[in-house]
């Protein structure tokens, strides 16, 4: 229930905001909600697998956010803006 609410909030944030930093934060919220669902399931059945999955999600989130923030910096230096709409034109 809580995981679903948090995931829905993350999706709303991803759709509503246009600032790239906020988009990355929303992705973090969604990953966290998915991890919460794993932990809850693991606690429900008393297995450690849910926590193992959360560790994988953690590693994935850390790598994703580092690469994502590097991309944000590159985009900011490219067109001096964090607006995702202004980055829609990709010319090689």
């Amino acid at each position: 229930m809580l995981a679903g609410i948090l995931f829905a909030l993350g999706v709303i944030g991803l759709l509503v905001r246009r600032n790239l930093v906020f988009v990355l934060m929303s992705i973090e919220i969604m990953l966290n909600a998915a991890g919460l669902a794993f932990i809850t399931a693991g606690a429900r059945w008393g297995q450690a697998d849910g926590q193992v999955m959360f560790i994988f999600i953690l590693a994935m989130a850390a790598s994703e956010v580092s690469v994502g923030l590097a991309l944000v910096l590159q985009l900011y230096h490219l067109n001096q803006s964090l607006d995702a709409d202004r980055a829609s034109a990709m010319r090689g």
């Binding site: 809580l2 609410i5 948090l6 909030l9 993350g10 709303i12 944030g13 509503v16 905001r17 600032n19 930093v21 906020f22 990355l24 934060m25 929303s26 973090e28 919220i29 966290n32 919460l36 932990i39 809850t40 693991g42 606690a43 008393g46 297995q47 450690a48 697998d49 849910g50 926590q51 193992v52 959360f54 560790i55 994988f56 953690l58 590693a59 994935m60 989130a61 850390a62 790598s63 994703e64 956010v65 580092s66 690469v67 923030l69 590097a70 991309l71 944000v72 910096l73 590159q74 900011y76 230096h77 964090l82």
Partner: protein, 198 residues
């Protein structure tokens, strides 16, 4: 499992997440995001996963938030940074996260005091159990995540490396403009040095 503590932490998590996606200021949103992650960590502790709660605080609320804050600071360099600094010191900026963090701190103290008195009712999965499972059936996943982290390291390094080529191009054009001999014939491919300059 303590039901009251769970619901308090859950309500704080939802409220702070709503505040994260509605803030205009990135630093304020990051403060609320940190509080949200810490409250989710308390939920984890309450669900019988103390190891994961510690990892959540260390990795999410620690390193990932610090990474975000570094990027936000790097993006507002210049004149606006001092204005933002003055804005940060106003009470309106930090009073909300402080109140929520104080509630969470009280909750942690309550849970710790209670944990000393009696064992929690829910089945607590110990770090040892998690480790045995992680390096047993999930060994392939560990290797894959190590590959992923390596790729992320190289990728972030490559993407964060934007200064050097631009500076080198400027250097070469300045040398060409003044007519001085460059003294080195290795020029990056794609730089705007004319072919007959050397």
């Amino acid at each position: 499992m303590n039901v009251i503590a769970f619901y308090i932490a859950a309500v704080i998590a939802i409220v702070t997440t709503v505040l994260v996606i509605t803030r205009k200021n990135a630093v304020q949103a990051l403060l609320y995001l940190a509080i949200s992650l810490i409250s989710v960590a308390i939920v984890f502790y309450d669900l019988g996963a103390p190891f994961i709660a510690a990892l959540e605080v260390i990795v999410y609320a620690g390193s990932i938030i610090v990474l975000f804050i570094f990027v936000v600071m790097m993006l507002n360099l210049g004149k606006r940074a001092t204005v933002a600094e003055g804005k940060l010191l106003k009470a309106r900026m930090w009073i909300g996260p402080s109140i929520l963090a104080a509630i969470l701190l009280g909750e942690v103290g309550y849970l710790l005091a209670k944990a000393n008195a009696q064992a929690p009712a829910a089945h607590v999965i110990s770090p040892r159990e998690v480790g045995m499972t992680l390096y047993g059936p999930y060994l392939l996943g560990v290797e894959l995540s190590s590959i992923l982290l390596m790729g992320a390291l190289v990728g972030a390094y490559h993407l964060g490396w934007y200064k050097r080529p631009r500076l080198e191009i400027e250097d070469v054009t300045r040398e060409h403009a003044t007519g001085a001999h460059a003294g080195r014939d290795t020029v990056r491919a794609g730089s705007n040095r004319p072919a007959g300059a050397a």
